[in-house]
């Protein structure tokens, strides 16, 4: 019987496992430290859940391997072959100074040294016409030169190949003849968008990470086979859709934010169950705070992101990450200003209260001092926190230099951390044309529950939702992902010149292309859906707006499409120019292969009996009070339970704080929904 699904999310400090029994809806979770060999952790988690691999239908994997390889600059030694006259594009970049006051500003170092960047004579013009044919002798010479340098991989990018990839494809064939051992990526297979630097960067990063991801996934596959796993292993992509191992190995750059993407997909799934379309996904981890938006049920995407200032052209869920989390360090600058983060303590030694030798004051230490955390019940009693050590670091590092009380210092740290997160959410929402008051917050990650109430108050959001098992919520989100393949292609046209028929043809061709990549997923055609978008703008502008294309648009000669551009431009930029000429820049087809979603298990209704675990003194600065908060065990709460703030609700991976003037209610699938209580 194939009836189980498993999601594995590798994060910075932990590997999270969530298994789902499709028949009973039972969820089991496990956390393991993420240090050491990843392959090993992967199977240790499976072992500790006592999972029968033969009963597993699917494993969905979110991995940080690609992003870590890029951040740590530990990828393969690779070469680059490009159009004659343009070998320096990778190093020239866009020439901008991101830090205008930094006299020592320097762009990130090129991942391919100049002597490994070779040129070949060939050229297309901006319409895709061949100006200079590919010089095959020169091409072979370049490949041999890189072979002699013993590179592991070759990135190939020619100008305007987004229109016609013929030269790139021929070049790849030549590499396969001359140097079959090399890992190869041609730019047109990974992105079909204009802007040569960004495309080069994307292609280079893909080859740079390819050998490592190939080795890792092959190792997993081998061991799974040895253990008689008969299902499929899927990899989460940055777009929020899953893909096959094979596709991930060819396009590692598509998986850079695969872990955080799981959380956002989970938020969208939760929203669809709750009937809420507008949600802020707020993931509070140990070192970072990740924010994303779900609007009208869809996670907001971006077509480009960067990793350590290196651009990547790929459809990606729009996630903003700031250095704020439980491990963020509180410190005083030379002008006696108090700051929280962006630096944080590593998992080892961690906050001072872990008692593993940490000597810096962190947000977690402050939360312990304020009474938010129970030293005896951290990580479900797996860890004892040392309150005295927390008090010592906060007193010595913050309270004494400021001449204030221990409690005031701790409350100050928590308050500043709250405000940093609130500003991050505010900025991402208004920047993308939304009003935070029209959104509900979904707070997850190990630290989400302690910030939910504060963020609700600060942002005047509709409600703050803390899902069950918030610490492993991103892994749970992975279980909700559909298969997804995208194709973005630069298609620069004046809108007025494009007829409905012509656009339809283009999109059909794009769709066929994407569908051809769906063959090995075993998804029935009836279970697929295609979404089309156009990146559009007004003539003379640089920035574009992503506009959905609906099938009804072809019936009215694209008039509604044009009106949709005006409406979306108005939303994003508070401006629309219905009388200005419009342009299409890119077309995108996204094909989804719909997977069966996990059934959300209904909670049993409220039982009689004592829910209250006890009372604890907590300090809540905004109310200027020390107050007795009721303490509840989340496991004892049931559907319909209501808790009045101030209250603390504990579960094994997380703690939730409900403020005075707030109430938390448990819904029928176990979410805690915190709202303001009108006085």
């Amino acid at each position: 019987m194939m009836q189980k699904r498993l999601a594995i999310d590798v994060g910075g400090t932990f590997v999270d496992f969530v298994s789902l029994d499709e028949e009973t809806g039972d969820i089991r979770i496990e956390k393991a430290p993420s240090s050491g060999l990843l392959e090993q952790r992967f199977f240790e988690g499976i072992d500790s859940l006592a999972l029968d691999l033969k009963a597993l239908r699917t494993i969905i994997h979110g991995s940080t391997l690609v992003i870590n390889t890029i951040v740590q600059e530990k990828g393969a030694r690779i070469g680059l072959i490009t159009t004659k006259g343009f070998r320096d594009v990778l190093e020239l970049g866009r020439g901008n100074r991101e830090e205008i006051y930094n006299l020592f500003y320097r762009p990130p170092p090129s991942l391919v040294e100049r002597y490994l960047r070779l040129e070949v004579s060939e050229r297309l013009d901006a319409r895709g016409e061949v100006v200079t044919p590919l010089d095959e002798d020169g091409a072979r010479a370049a490949i041999r030169q890189l072979k002699a340098e013993d590179v592991d991989g070759i990135a190939i990018i020619f100008l305007h190949s987004y229109i016609d990839p013929t030269h790139e494809e021929r070049m790849r064939a030549l590499v396969e003849e001359e140097f079959p051992k090399a890992a190869v990526t041609i730019s047109s297979e990974i992105c079909r968008e204009w802007r040569e630097f960004e495309r080069t960067s994307t292609t280079v990063l893909n080859v740079y990470t390819k050998p490592k991801l190939m080795r890792y996934l092959s190792a997993l596959e081998g061991e799974l086979k040895r253990r008689q796993f008969g299902g499929t292993l899927n990899i989460m992509q940055s777009s929020g859709g899953i893909t096959s191992i094979r596709a991930a190995q060819e396009g590692p750059i598509r998986t850079t934010v695969s872990g955080p993407a799981g959380g956002v997909i989970g938020v969208a799934a939760l929203g669809s169950y709750l009937g809420e379309g507008n949600l802020v996904a707020a993931d509070v981890g140990g070192t970072t705070f990740d924010v994303a938006l779900v609007s009208n049920g869809q996670p907001l995407e971006q077509s480009e992101h960067s990793i350590n200032r290196r651009p990547v052209l790929q459809p990606t869920i729009d996630i903003v990450s700031i250095g704020a989390g439980g491990g963020s360090i509180a410190w005083i600058d030379d002008a006696r200003g108090l700051h929280i983060g962006p630096q944080s303590v590593e998992a080892d030694p961690g906050p001072a209260c872990y008692g593993l030798g940490g000597t810096l004051a962190t947000v977690t230490d402050a939360q312990l001092v304020l009474g938010y955390l129970d030293p005896e019940y951290y990580l479900g009693e797996r860890m004892r926190l040392d309150r005295e050590k927390a008090e010592t670091v906060i007193r010595e590092r913050i309270a004494k230099p400021f001449g204030m009380s221990l409690i005031d210092a701790a409350a100050g740290i928590v308050h500043l951390a709250n405000m940093n997160m609130a500003y991050a959410i505010r900025n991402i929402t208004i920047e993308r044309g939304h009003d935070p008051r029209e959104f509900s917050l979904v707070c997850y990650g190990g630290g989400g529950g302690l910030f939910a109430g504060f963020l609700l108050m600060e942002l005047e959001a509709a409600s703050a939702i803390v899902p069950l098992n918030p610490a492993t919520f991103s892994a749970w989100g992975l279980l909700n992902a559909d298969y997804r393949e995208d194709y973005v292609r630069t298609y620069l046209r004046r809108f007025a010149d494009v007829g409905a028929e012509q656009l339809k043809c283009e999109l059909d061709a794009l769709e066929n292309d994407v569908r051809s990549r769906f063959t090995d997923y075993g998804v029935a055609p009836s279970q697929t859906a295609t979404q089309f978008h156009a990146a559009m703008r007004y003539h003379g502008q640089e920035h574009t707006v992503k506009v959905p294309i609906l099938s009804s648009d072809f019936a009215d000669d694209l008039l509604s499409l044009r009106q949709r551009l005006d409406a979306l431009h108005e939303r994003a930029y508070a401006l629309s120019l219905p009388d200005s000429a419009a342009e299409i820049v890119n077309l995108q087809a996204s094909v989804l292969g719909i997977t069966r979603k996990p059934e959300l298990k209904r909670m049993s209704p409220l039982l009689d009996g004592e829910l209250l675990k006890g009372k604890r003194l907590v300090t809540i600065r905004d109310y200027g009070i020390d107050i007795d908060a009721a303490v509840f065990n989340r496991d004892n709460l049931a559907a319909g339970s209501e808790v009045q703030g101030p209250a603390i609700i504990e579960e094994w991976t997380s703690t939730i704080l409900v403020l005075p003037d707030q109430a938390a209610k448990v819904d029928d699938i176990g979410n805690l929904i915190i709202k303001r209580v009108e006085k």
Binding site: G85, F86, R87, D88, V89, E91, L92, R94, G95, N96, R97, E99, I100, Y101, N102, L103, F104, Y105, R106, P107, E113, R114, Y115, D125, A126, V131, H160, Y162, W194, R195, E196, E198, D333, D334, A335, G337, L338, H339, F402, M404, D408, A409, A411, G412, H415, L416, M419, Y423, R426, N427, I430, E431, G433, L492, E542, H543, A572, Y573, A574, L575
Partner: protein
């Protein structure tokens, strides 16, 4: 007087910074003109009721410090009582606002409970201001009236009511009224955002607490800046350079001279020795000269600290009247940026005598060209402006970065080849490093950039800009000076010519003609004979340096 606790102080400081950020988001999102949303040619600030900066958000470094004086000029002109709730004012007279009249300031007084408590202010480069050159940046004006419309704290809104006549007058006198109107509305919206946030903060903490907290922040920032200046050895440090010419008197180089006087915890930056006000538009208004000096001080001491008025207290900037860095009415200032760029580098050069390890060598100077065709009889009109990136001066501990835009252009990105070719009748034949013209040294200057264009149609012209072609960017401590940026026209033909002039119009070029722009590198740092062999090996391996050039 009760002190505000340090946590509340920090919360207020962060809130003001967040308010400035929100103004910036609002501006970028709603502006119509790519100079604002793309090049980020703007600056913005929230000041207190005296026009002292509480928080800033800036796109280009030159704007920092211009907005406080702009508001203060308004306070002098109108008096505190001259402002009413809902006023929106315009100001751009460069002697009051610091740059050129294209950078028009829009600001609004903020009232809480009937009292003037603060200002939100921003200045941004307008798409046009009605001067003799479309879009501003006139190369050859000789007085300010040729450069466009002048505003002197004029109220576009009076107590919340729009002055329709004034608006119509503005829009009738600029070339791209739709763009200008859009930008103006974006600037007003941003001011109102800042005002709204400031008032919300007052409602939460009270105007007095905010005032007191920020006085404390000023004092702390001042103390920190004093401590940083104290680390610099006392002394008088000078540097100077000859600029090519002012665009009008073409055979007349002129000098810019700075002396940095460090004495204990205070710094004075004095411009005595700088040439008299020049006839052409390359004068740099004194408010801007002060702002640039503040920018450099911040960059050298605490580049990542959010700036406020307190940081600026230990610094005085002085200059005799009527020099190229302190022009008075009616001197032309529209091309102020050439001197502005050098003002930054000269202060760094002067201070390199005191704190060598914090001072890079000089970078290439502003260079680029506008390739265009205006006459519709010759084909579809277009203009493509290419401010070419170049080499930065070497650092005291590393080679200078290659191919970065000049400091004054901030975070502006280049235009990709694929976009140029998709949009204009041009083909880019090469976009590579220019391996000539980087100063050697223990650490060498960064390399400049070469971009070569072939014309795909007829009747195309180029206007160039260049600077410091006579006295070139310097090296430090034995590092060699950099070369000169240059334009080659009709490359590869028998008409080939290389031009190093500061401002030139060339053409017309016809189909097949080639022009080549090559920017200079940066100056070197330290004696070339001390260069680390592994760096030499790296340069040779990568072809940055030829074996016979060692």
């Amino acid at each position: 007087m009760s002190k505000v606790d340090p946590i509340t102080t920090q919360v207020i400081r962060n809130a003001l910074k967040a308010a400035a950020d929100e103004m910036m988001i609002s501006l970028i999102k709603t502006a119509h003109n790519p100079l604002i949303y793309e090049v980020q040619d703007f600056g913005l600030a929230i000041t207190n009721h005296r026009g002292e900066m509480l928080a800033e958000g800036s796109g280009l470094p030159g704007f920092m410090g211009c907005l406080g004086p702009t508001v203060q000029s308004g306070l002098r002109a109108l008096g505190s009582a001259g402002f009413a709730e809902g006023d929106i004012l315009l100001a751009n007279e460069p002697y009051e606002t610091g740059t050129h009249i294209s950078d028009t300031a829009v600001y609004m007084p903020i009232f809480f409970e009937g009292e003037l408590v603060a200002f939100s202010a921003l200045m941004a480069h307008w798409a046009d201001i009605g001067g003799k050159t479309p879009g501003g940046w006139c190369p050859d004006t000789t007085d300010i009236h040729q450069e466009g419309l002048i505003f002197f704290h004029d109220k576009l809104y009076e107590a919340g009511k729009l002055n329709q006549t004034f608006l119509r007058f503005i829009l009738k006198n600029v070339r791209f009224p739709e763009l200008v109107h859009g930008d103006l509305n974006a600037m007003i919206a941003a001011c109102r955002t800042g005002s709204k946030r400031y008032i919300a903060l007052c409602e939460r903490y009270g105007a007095d607490i905010i005032r007191e907290a920020m006085e404390q922040v000023f004092d702390q920032s001042e103390a920190m800046m004093r401590a940083k200046i104290s680390e610099i050895p006392d002394g008088a440090y000078s540097a100077s350079i000859m600029m090519d010419h002012d665009g009008v008197e073409l055979d007349k180089p002129y000098k810019v001279w700075v002396t940095v006087n460090v004495s204990g915890a205070e710094m004075n930056i004095d411009w005595t020795g700088t040439a008299d006000t020049v006839k052409g538009p390359t004068n740099h208004p004194f408010v801007g000269t002060v702002a640039m000096a503040q920018t450099v001080l911040k960059s050298l001491t605490m580049p990542f600290d959010p700036m406020n008025h307190g940081h600026l207290r230990p610094l005085t900037v002085t200059a005799p009247d009527n020099t190229a860095v302190s022009p008075q009415y009616p001197a032309a200032t529209d091309s102020y940026g050439y001197v502005g760029e050098m003002v930054i580098h000269l202060i760094v050069k002067a201070l390199s005598q005191a704190i060598p390890m914090r001072c890079p060598a000089c970078s290439y100077q502003m260079f680029g060209g506008a390739i265009y065709r205006m006459d519709p009889r010759h084909g579809e009109p277009f203009i493509y402006i290419d401010p070419l990136a170049g080499g930065s001066g070497a650092f005291p501990h590393a080679d200078g970065p290659s191919g970065l835009i000049f400091v004054g252009d901030g975070n502006a990105p280049n235009t990709p080849t694929e976009v140029i070719e998709g949009r204009y009748p041009l083909r880019v034949l090469r976009h590579t490093f220019n391996l000539n013209g980087a100063g050697k040294g223990k650490y060498r200057g960064g390399f400049g950039v070469t971009r070569e264009y072939q014309m795909l149609e007829d009747n195309i012209l180029i206007q160039t800009m260049n600077e410091n072609t006579i006295e070139t960017p310097w090296g430090l401590y034995g590092g060699e000076e950099a070369g000169v940026s240059e334009l080659t026209v009709w490359t590869g033909s028998d008409r080939e010519r290389t031009i190093r002039g500061r401002v030139y119009f060339y053409g017309p070029f016809n189909k097949g003609d080639i022009i080549t722009q090559s920017s200079a590198g940066g100056g070197g740092w330290g004696d070339p004979s001390e260069r680390d062999p592994t760096l030499i090996e790296y340069d040779l391996r990568n072809g940055y340096v030829q074996p016979d050039d060692q």
